[in-house]
């Protein structure tokens, strides 16, 4: 799901790992991974953000387009964190250690927590904030849009 906060979460995880394990060499690659030099050899924690750019869809299934990249991912022994809107396979290559965690919309209490940082929405009553959560389906970026519009005097 786009706009749900995958990249933000990945960035926070990378920052926390960097703080707690300063000896680690962390590399973040955004979007399409270059075939010639995917990431530095010395990296032992790789974050592949917006990995959708490396996928192709065939018969409704999302697959890593470049077999060499798929093989590299399957054989990678360091830590790997990928953000992607779609579950995918490595094609002919076995999945190896890859596992998928789905990041869904915010729960009511999660939306309440986000609301505290949104200047217009946080001024609303509890009932109105609940309505915001329902109207945006707990989507963080949609809540941010709504906050900007409410701050400008729009009414929905």
């Amino acid at each position: 799901m786009g706009g749900i906060g995958k990249s933000t979460l990945a960035a926070q995880i990378a920052a926390r790992v960097s703080r707690l394990q300063s000896e680690r060499v962390i590399t973040v690659v955004n979007g399409e991974v270059p075939a010639s030099a995917p990431w530095p050899a010395e990296a032992d924690f790789v974050v592949l953000d917006n990995f959708d750019d490396n996928l192709s869809q065939e018969s409704g299934r999302w697959t890593v387009r470049d077999p060499a990249l798929a093989a590299q991912l399957a054989g990678w022994t360091g830590k790997l964190l990928i953000t992607c809107r779609h579950p995918f396979s490595l094609g002919e290559t076995p999945q190896g250690r890859l596992t998928f965690r789905r990041l869904g919309p915010l729960t009511s209490s999660g939306a309440d927590e986000l609301s505290t940082s949104l200047p217009a929405i946080r001024l609303l009553s509890d009932a109105e904030r609940d309505q915001v959560w329902r109207l945006t389906a707990g989507h963080p970026l949609a809540m941010e849009y709504l906050d900007l519009l409410l701050a400008r005097g729009e009414r929905y």
Binding site: M1, G2, G3, N30, G31, E32, P34, A35, S36, N50, D53, R101, R102, L103, G104, P105, L106, T107, S108, S109, G110, L135, T136, A137, G138, H139, L141, A142, E144, Y145, L146, L148, L149, R152, E154
Partner: protein, 436 residues
Amino acid sequence: MPRTEPTELAETTAEQIASMAGDLMFGDLFGRLGTAARSLLIRASVFRVPVTAEALGARPGPIAECEAAGLLVIGPGHELVVHRWTAGALHRQLAEAGLGAQLAAAHRQAAAYWLSRGAVSPESGYHQRRAAELTRVADPAPRPGPSLLRRGAVLALAAVSVALAVEAGRALAVPHLASAEGSAGALSSAAGPSVAGPSVAPASAARDQAAAWVAGQVSGGAVLACDPAMCAALAQRGVAAGDLLVLGPGAGDPLGSAVVVETAAVRNIFGARLVSVYAPEVLASFGTGAARIDVRIVAPDGTVAYRTALAADVRARRAAGAQLLRASRITVTPSARSALAAGQVDARLLITLAALAASEPVRIDGFGSRGPGQSPGLALRTAEITAPAAPARRMLTFVRAQRSPYLAIRADLTPGPDGYVLTIEFGAPAPLGMLR
């Protein structure tokens, strides 16, 4: 990552709701941006990785405008990013509006940027592929779009809740349109300054006339490219400094602007390229000889693309005008009929008239607002409608409640021989492709 609390909706349902809400709110946020900010957002939205302002040829004003709208993120290293969800909403709306060509152009610019850097990157290939795909998808043949009256009905529905809250405005006396052609002079003289007397130098007089016309006729928020003296004259007329792009030797091209005011100084900078490459069409012309000043529309994708789009727009306006002429709730004078049938009427007016006709009988007296020396094919941006007092006030309320791009620069009521005359005027330049 186990949840401690369930959501009430299935994730696919939640995604659909969020997408619909996001598209609606994105439209509101995008609709409030000025022309330069919209153009910047479109250019930035095709990039998959953060880029510098230089890569986008962007100036601080539009960047700040997009950031304030929450549609552009500025990173810690001043790099610019449009969130992919935001970009998705923008690209969907451009596609629905038949403006895929703008996206293709943005991808071509992005490909050129990556190629100019010389570094090995998958990005240039990606943008070239996308530009080619979008160009293939674009259908060059004219095709029937959604019914104009249906578009108008949608506009009417969208505006109803806002219209209810807006108070009918005060009446102002304005000259009436006798006919499409005859009105141009009347409106031009109404909008323009008094003509300078013999003691005023011709260049100065033309500059004053051009500044008055631009300040009164060009849409608010449109970026105006001008030489320093012209920009100063426009600022004196109330044009915001942030909407002015000052041209001078070494200042680059006028492509970041919507309109360029071609004075002798600007002609000296760009020579024949101004007309052949950057700004082929004239909105209005003032003065003669070396003192002549042409107010030109900037063609962001070049002269050929602009003229192609303009020709397609005239065809679409003609088809939409024919739809209005068949509508039972619309009556027209012979001059108005002629303008509608010839495709001379601005698309924003056509859609607004269809929206008005959805709830009131509409009698169109005439169309106008042709700038002095205006190029053929450019649209008439003003309409006059006669109605009894109560419907006229309701229509005025409706027109004033619209948002960009349907927000008129002027909407007034004035008493007429058969009731009240509602004058609706849209700003220049008329956007192309709204009726595809």
